[in-house]
């Protein structure tokens, strides 16, 4: 009896280690439609794309590599810097051998949480359910030469050897052309637009200070990434500054501080925003959709969409933004969608979309 317990513990330990290290070669088949979707994304979360591919019904329509690129990203896009955190599933409708399952995916990315909703068709093959993966055929740009006449601004700044009278080149003139303070629950949101009125590019940021009764400062914030920081001549960017837990009713005045720096910049790339329209998505929320078209010859790795909404008097009533998790290849449209507050949607008379971009091999 004295020897029995240690031996039992050793045997149990060996068994547990063996269970932990030896993985089954065959993944367990899905016995339900949402189980198939959950299993697929569980493998994606573990970055086992081969395992995830075993849950795909239409494996003949795509390749494992294309499937993996669809989920893991490519070309230095935002999704290549992300990892799947959670996947919630909901059966929208189901029959004995077919179902439609909504998967709400949450990715952790370099710019914060990123949400993606996919409605996936699931079919029964024999006794197991498999996902019909929507095949996205990415148009290949035919080999060609795209002529670029790069327009750049370089700056010679004042040097240490210059005499004290030598002036530096001045920062560009920027002006806030509209500003509006709006409430959102217990928060105060400052939205507006800033224009580079000068003939040189500028790195622009906007700060705001809320002042309450008797001149007490309620808070100071900046637009952070809710703005296009690099503004070319005559370019207008929206901005949004959020003040959490500051009620608009307590605000007496707002002090705005636009800042600008003269920076070297390039006028490329040009990104077209096509077919913009406000729609109601499958969840019943208002979204502004469209496509982005990279009209230059270089890949834009991380596009950032900023949308400005105006009421019938032309006043800015909301600014929303969203990152696109796909890189923009030359001459290849990529869809985008940004949220629009449902309570403001009826007031929206017009809107304007601008695109901020980050390039891995940017020259500036």
């Amino acid at each position: 009896m004295k020897r029995g317990l240690p031996i039992a513990i050793i045997v149990l330990t060996v068994a547990l280690i063996a269970m932990a290290t030896i993985q089954p070669k065959q993944l367990s088949p899905a016995r339900s439609p949402d189980g198939a979707v959950r299993s697929l994304f569980a493998q994606v979360k573990a970055r086992d794309y081969a395992g995830a591919f075993s849950y795909v019904a239409n494996a003949g329509d795509t390749t494992e590599q294309a499937f993996a690129q669809d989920l893991a990203g490519r070309d230095g896009g935002l999704r290549t810097y992300s990892s799947l955190q959670a996947a919630d599933t909901k059966i929208l409708h189901a029959t004995d051998d077919e179902a439609l399952v909504r998967a709400t995916l949450e990715y952790a990315t370099a710019v914060g949480a990123f949400y993606n909703t996919r409605d996936l068709k699931v079919v029964k093959q024999g006794d197991r359910w498999k996902v019909v993966w929507p095949v996205t055929k990415q148009a290949n740009v035919p080999p060609q030469v795209i002529q670029e006449n790069y327009l750049r601004w370089d700056v010679i700044t004042r040097g240490a050897r210059d005499d004290w009278g030598a002036q530096n080149v001045e920062a560009p003139r920027v002006r806030i052309i509209s500003m509006n303070a709006i409430p959102q629950g217990n928060n105060t949101i400052i939205v507006g637009e800033v224009e580079n009125e000068d003939t040189v590019p500028g790195f622009v940021s906007v700060g705001a200070t809320l002042v309450g009764a008797s001149g007490k400062v309620l808070g100071s914030e900046t637009s952070f990434d809710k703005i296009s920081h690099t503004l070319l001549p005559k370019e207008i960017s929206p901005f949004r500054i959020d003040f959490p837990k500051v009620r608009l009713a307590t605000v007496n005045s707002v002090r705005m501080t636009p800042n600008s720096l003269l920076v070297p910049a390039s006028a490329d790339p040009v990104i077209g925003v096509l077919h913009q329209r406000v729609e109601v998505d499958s969840r019943g929320r208002h979204v502004l959709r469209g496509e982005l078209l990279n009209e230059s010859g270089e890949i834009v790795n991380i596009p950032h969409v900023l949308a400005t909404y105006y009421d019938k008097s032309g006043k800015v009533i909301w600014v929303s933004d969203g990152y696109v998790d796909q890189a923009l290849l030359p001459a290849t449209p990529v869809p985008f969608a940004v949220d629009l507050r449902d309570d403001l949607a009826p007031q929206v008379q017009s809107y304007r979309v601008t695109v901020n971009q980050y390039m891995l091999n940017a020259k500036d």
Binding site: N149, L151, W153, D163, W164, G165, A166, Q167, N168, V169, E170, E195, E197, D198, T199, V200, P201, L232, P233, K234, E235, I236, A267, V270, I271, G272, V273, L274, H275, Q276, R277, G290, E295, A331, Y351, R352, V353, T354
Partner: protein, 285 residues
């Protein structure tokens, strides 16, 4: 570092009264000398004494022989201003004045100006001698603004070492050379004269393989200058599929963009607050 010539003088005078072995002396110094030139001081009497010289940024203490000429070198008298000499109970003052103009500090503002604007460029010149003393004697400073082969010249006399002018920007855009000169000294600054907002925008549309090719006529300001490269021009097409926009950059006065094909679109163009013509697009025209 701060100087207190009054306190130094008192200390010097007290010290000079304490010197021994010297008979009474009488100092002879010129009323003024030019910075960087030496000075000879004659003092009567006999024996040795301690010489004190106190001036702006200068304090000299030296044993000297009375009855002989005392030399102060050019290096001793570089800074302009009032100097006090004290020797064996006697003291005298003299002034060091700035030498001829050797350098100019030139402030030209701003670095960029719109064309055809009166009194928009300011130039301020400070004239200095070889030892960075401000030359207080009136001097002539010539301001020259050269742009596009045309030169505007304006001369001003300095007052207390400073000359100031205001000049108009020229009618044509370009890089203007702004020069201030006085005697052998000359300093150049660069002022960029830039075009103003577009006066009007006119675009044309034509079908191409990708859709609609939009191209503006050369965009000029109201003085006829091409609007600077890189200025944003926004083309907008609205049809049944929604609104499509492209923020194109002006290159050599012209902006162009491609918008998707459409059978019935309203196309507009704008830059900043200036709106151009509108085109009703019907498929191929």
């Amino acid at each position: 570092m701060t100087h207190n010539p009054g306190a130094a003088l008192i200390i010097g005078l007290v010290a000079s009264c304490l010197c021994l072995g010297a008979s009474a002396s009488e100092l002879h110094v010129p009323a003024s000398v030019t910075a960087g030139s030496g000075l000879s001081i004659s003092a009567s009497g006999s024996g040795t004494a301690t010489l004190y010289v106190i001036g702006p940024g200068t304090a000299i203490k030296r044993k000297v022989e009375l009855g002989q000429a005392i030399q102060l070198s050019a290096d001793d008298l570089q800074n302009a201003g009032r100097y006090v000499v004290s020797l064996a109970g006697d003291s005298a003052t003299f002034f060091v004045t700035a030498g001829p103009v050797h350098a100019i500090a030139f402030l030209a503002r701003p670095s960029r100006v719109p064309v055809d604007t009166p009194n928009v460029i300011s130039g301020t010149a400070f004239v200095f001698d070889k030892y960075r003393n401000l030359v207080l004697e009136p001097q002539t400073v010539k301001f020259e603004l050269s742009a596009n082969g045309q030169t505007v010249s304006h001369s001003q006399m300095t007052k207390d070492g400073i000359a100031y002018t205001k000049l108009d920007s020229s009618k044509k855009e370009g890089v203007a050379q702004f020069v201030a000169s006085s005697g052998p000294a000359s300093v150049r600054r660069v002022v960029q004269e830039v075009a103003s907002d577009p006066c009007s925008i006119r675009m044309n549309a034509a079908p191409n393989q990708q859709g609609i090719l939009l191209r503006t006529d050369p965009i000029r300001d109201c003085a006829g200058n091409l609007v600077p490269d890189g200025t944003i021009v926004t083309f907008t097409a609205t049809d049944s599929e929604g609104k499509s926009t492209v923020d194109a950059r002006i290159r050599q006065g012209i902006a162009q963009a491609e918008l998707p094909a459409s059978n019935n679109a309203t196309i507009s163009v704008a830059s900043g607050v200036v709106v151009g013509n509108e085109i009703q697009w019907r498929g191929d025209r």
